[in-house]
């Protein structure tokens, strides 16, 4: 039961990543692309967690935490750049 759920969830997350890539390539404006990148960070964390479940190891959760932090900081930085024209004033 767990195997089927794991593979279904993985397929759904990969489909979500493909939709994010579509929005990243098409997105008419800059905030659309930032939003697509932010969602890609979250979806890649989901994929890492699923890989940890699949390989039965906890080693990759540190990288998931790192990706979460760096994704938030980069989103904030690019938004600040678009808002103010500068990141650290």
């Amino acid at each position: 039961m767990l195997d089927i759920a794991l593979w279904t969830s993985m397929a759904l997350v990969v489909a979500a990543l493909l939709l994010n890539v579509y929005r990243l390539a098409v997105g008419p404006d800059m905030p659309d692309r930032i939003l697509a990148l932010d969602t890609m960070y979250v979806n890649s964390i989901a994929l890492i967690v699923l890989m940890g479940l699949w390989l039965n190891t906890k080693t990759y959760f540190e990288s998931a935490l790192l990706i979460a932090m760096l994704g938030f900081i980069s989103t904030v930085a690019v938004c600040k750049y678009l808002l103010r024209g500068d990141i650290i004033e």
Binding site: A5, L17, D32, D38, T75
Partner: protein, 130 residues
């Protein structure tokens, strides 16, 4: 024995729900029409999806190892704190850049209204005082 079967069912349900919510969020982001609508999908549905998946992972490793692990809880907490902040910043960026919006988008904040400069005569503030 029955407990393990029950826990496996709960973990499988949380995994499926997480994958479905993540997919629905990204589908909304790819499908909706303007930026202010697109912001809704990833910020709410995807966050709930990843929360479901992390809780499923925490339960799984709790059952396997016999003791709870703090790391998944930490990732969940961090994501749930940071998602509204980044969504707020993205909405502010969209309003600042005055992105194109559909007529059906409700709210009509002052940043998106048409400029009224020079269209109507402005009454003089001193009128009535001579």
């Amino acid at each position: 024995m029955t407990l393990y079967v029950l826990l496996e069912g709960v973990i499988a349900f949380l995994l499926i729900a997480g994958g479905a919510f993540a997919f629905i969020g990204s589908l909304g982001m790819a499908h909706l029409r303007d930026f202010y609508m697109r912001l809704h999908g990833p910020t709410k549905a995807t966050t709930l999806g990843i929360g479901c998946m992390l809780v499923a992972s925490m339960l799984y490793f709790w059952v396997i190892d016999g003791k709870p692990d703090i790391q998944e809880m930490l990732i969940t907490l961090f994501l749930f704190i940071t998602a509204p902040v980044s969504a707020h910043l993205l909405a502010k960026t969209g309003l600042h850049l005055q992105l194109r919006h559909e007529d059906k988008t409700r709210g009509n904040p002052p940043e998106l209204r048409e400029e009224e400069v020079g269209e109507k005569p402005v009454p003089h503030p001193d009128r009535g005082h001579g």
